[in-house]
């Protein structure tokens, strides 16, 4: 489906994440000439991005501000870093999250550390966009969730919106943030319609949202897993279990206050992420909940994540790999029973 038809498929009150991102980039570029875009296929002669997110931008803002790059991820992130040191606000698209692996030196050794290593003389206000999420049969190298790596790196910020409005708002916040932000987009919810960002509404980095209020169990999720948590919560509501869903929105720095306030109330917590469970961000959040609320918990903090294996290809394996509502329900029930 092209971006144009995606845009047509939603009515005026709603839009898709894909459209929300395009609006955010367009808004930012219009408001501030320092905002520039680079990445593979991002300019209009190349289609305005593989999925059309940047469509129209190079025509509107010129090919010097919106540059299609060679397939050279180190050069892409390096150019973004350098341009930011030269006073610009680059948005670099790395297409798929797995492709950050070939630019890790630039992201981890440079973007993340230049502010600290320069004693604050320089900083790297870049945004790195990337798409991921299992479910379209891509096999092991195109759909990993690697957010824990980046959240484990001091100096980086990591955001992963679950709704179109949050995508638009967080993209604007990331572009204007003085530090490097990794922006994780999920393909499975890319075209799911959602309410538009209200005029003047700001979605700050580091603030979670209560996506569904509840009283019995807190489910902490981000990105696509928020949707899966909602499906689980609906079902559990029919069984008389009230689930509160905290949508992290930002993974680093994560909103400890929002999570701890919710768990202090429900006294039960389940953390869900699509990344493999082992050493995932759920471990960090569970540890903090344990440290802060140990005495008041009514059960162990549960983690739901993918099994510890690469993303598989075969459909039944891939479906079983991605945590779905059933696994979330089971984790919640284990705390209630």
């Amino acid at each position: 489906m092209s971006a144009a038809t995606a845009a047509k498929s939603v009515n005026s009150d709603t839009y898709s994440m894909l459209e929300a991102l395009r609006i955010a980039l367009d808004t930012a570029m219009e408001q501030d000439r320092r905002v520039i875009v680079l990445g593979e296929d991002v300019a209009d002669p190349e289609g305005g991005g593989v999925l059309g997110v940047t469509r129209g931008l190079s025509t509107k803002f010129g090919s010097l501000r919106v540059r299609t790059t060679p397939i050279s991820e180190q050069a892409i992130i390096g150019a973004a870093i350098g341009a930011s040191l030269g006073g610009y606000l680059p948005v670099a698209e790395i297409m798929l999250m797995n492709f950050t692996t070939v630019a890790m030196d630039m992201i981890v050794n440079h973007a993340a550390k230049l502010r600290f290593m320069s004693g604050g003389q320089t900083h790297v206000p870049i945004t790195i966009r990337m798409l991921t999420g299992a479910g379209f049969g891509a096999g092991g190298q195109h759909t990993d969730y690697l957010e824990a790596w980046f959240a484990h790196t001091a100096g980086l910020k990591v955001v992963a919106p679950a709704t179109p409005a949050d995508a638009e708002g967080l993209m604007l916040s990331c572009i204007h943030d003085p530090d490097p932000c990794l922006f994780i987009e999920n393909l499975q919810i890319y075209r799911t319609p959602g309410p538009r960002l209200a005029k003047g509404q700001v979605i700050p980095i580091g603030k979670a949202a209560i996506s569904r209020p509840g009283t019995d169990v807190t489910v902490v999720a981000h990105s696509r897993m928020v949707k899966e948590a909602h499906t689980a919560a609906e079902k559990l509501a029919n069984e008389g279990v009230s689930v509160e869903i905290i949508d992290l929105r930002t993974i680093s720095p994560w909103d400890r206050e929002a999570v701890l306030n919710s768990v202090a109330k429900t006294k039960r917590a389940v953390i869900v992420h699509e990344a493999v469970r082992n050493f995932g961000i759920g471990a960090e959040i569970a540890a903090v909940i344990g440290e802060e609320l140990f005495g008041s918990l009514k059960g162990p903090v549960r983690r739901v994540g993918a099994p510890f294996c690469p993303v598989p290809y075969s459909k039944p394996l891939e479906t079983a790999f991605v945590p779905g509502p059933e696994k979330i329900e089971a984790a919640v029930r284990s705390l209630i029973d």
Binding site: P70, E73, Q74, G82, G87, D105, N109, S118
Partner: protein, 328 residues
């Protein structure tokens, strides 16, 4: 050589001043580590001092450089003040980077030193971005990316040269070919006889030049900088040089044939240029000796000043990670 491309006497003296600063600074730095007065990750650039000294006299203060861990020569030549550099080298609070970067990560935007990387090959992709910023703002700045011959074998070099040529970026890639990638000789790890031939693959001018002779390097660097500044795109300069003191402090250099080192030392670029300035009557022995004495004093004072300076407060661990202070 075109007469216009020959540096005049004053410029040659300026090159000599920079070379002297680098040479004397290096002598002090090595002595400091050897005697245990300071502990620092120091990679001696001695032997390579002609390259940044010559290039820097062709640059404006606003021009950018990106350099690498063996880079104190590049920094000093570009103008990083000794009294900011030395506290940083020994990890003090009043260093360029508050003591949080160290010798491998000197940053000093005021003199155009934007990045010093400890990762081989990583100066080049970032230099491209600075050059892109210059295209966007039309500020006519030029960015120099310094790196060694070993870095021409890493992917970042090739990605960066391709992008720079494609985008006609105002950048000059300066390979300081000192014949060794850590302990491995050039020929043992590089498939081409000269790094400059790699420029052909990216349709940019590539030129090999004697990087130990200021008069040979000057016109080549001038052309490349002019090309970049006038919007004609990047150039790869391979400046042939030699590393006098091994990869790192304490390196026994057993992998270097003694006769090779002996031959290189016999052509010490600092001594040769000094003698030439006198022979060409650009300066007298007394004038050069005065420059050396002044430099000696300046470096000694900067070191004593640095060693007497305070270490950073531990609260610095929380600062400059992000724009805000880390609390968690």
């Amino acid at each position: 050589m075109k007469e216009s491309n020959r540096p005049d006497g004053a410029t040659q003296l300026e090159i000599f001043r920079k070379m002297t600063l680098i040479k004397i600074n290096d002598e002090h730095a090595r002595k400091l580590v050897r005697t245990g007065r300071a502990t620092m990750q120091y990679y001696s650039p001695r032997g390579q001092e002609v390259i940044p000294s010559t290039i820097s006299v062709l640059l404006d203060r606003e021009d950018y450089i990106c350099t690498i861990y063996r880079g104190t020569h590049d920094m000093l030549a570009k103008g990083v003040p000794l009294r900011e550099l030395w506290p940083e080298l020994v990890g003090r609070a009043n260093g360029t980077c508050k003591g949080k970067g160290g010798p491998m990560h000197i940053t000093h935007p005021k003199s155009g030193v934007m990045v010093t990387t400890g990762i081989v090959g990583s100066s080049m992709p970032i230099a491209n971005g600075l050059a892109w910023a210059s295209l966007l703002s039309e500020d006519k700045r030029v960015t120099i990316a310094y790196f060694g011959d070993g870095a021409s074998n890493i992917g970042a070099f090739h990605e960066a040269l391709n992008m720079a040529s494609l985008w006609k970026l105002p950048v000059v890639f300066v390979c300081q070919n000192n014949r060794y990638a850590e302990h491995t000789s050039y020929g043992a790890c590089t498939a081409v006889k000269q790094v400059s031939t790699r420029a052909m693959a990216y349709e940019m001018p590539g030129i090999t030049v004697d990087g130990n002779d200021p008069l040979a390097l000057y016109p080549v660097a001038q052309d490349a900088i002019e090309r970049a500044r006038s919007g004609q795109g990047p150039t790869l300069i391979e400046a042939m040089t030699y590393r006098f003191h091994g990869h790192h402090m304490g390196d026994d250099q057993s992998y270097i044939p003694p006769e090779e080192m002996k031959a290189a030392m016999a052509k010490d670029p600092s001594l040769l240029f000094r003698a030439k300035l006198i022979a060409d009557r650009i300066a007298t022995e007394d004038e050069l000796a005065a420059i050396e004495a002044d430099t000696e004093k300046e470096v000694s004072e900067a070191i004593e000043y640095a060693l007497a300076s305070p270490f950073p407060d531990l609260s610095e661990l929380r600062r400059d990670v992000y724009a805000y202070e880390v609390t968690q």
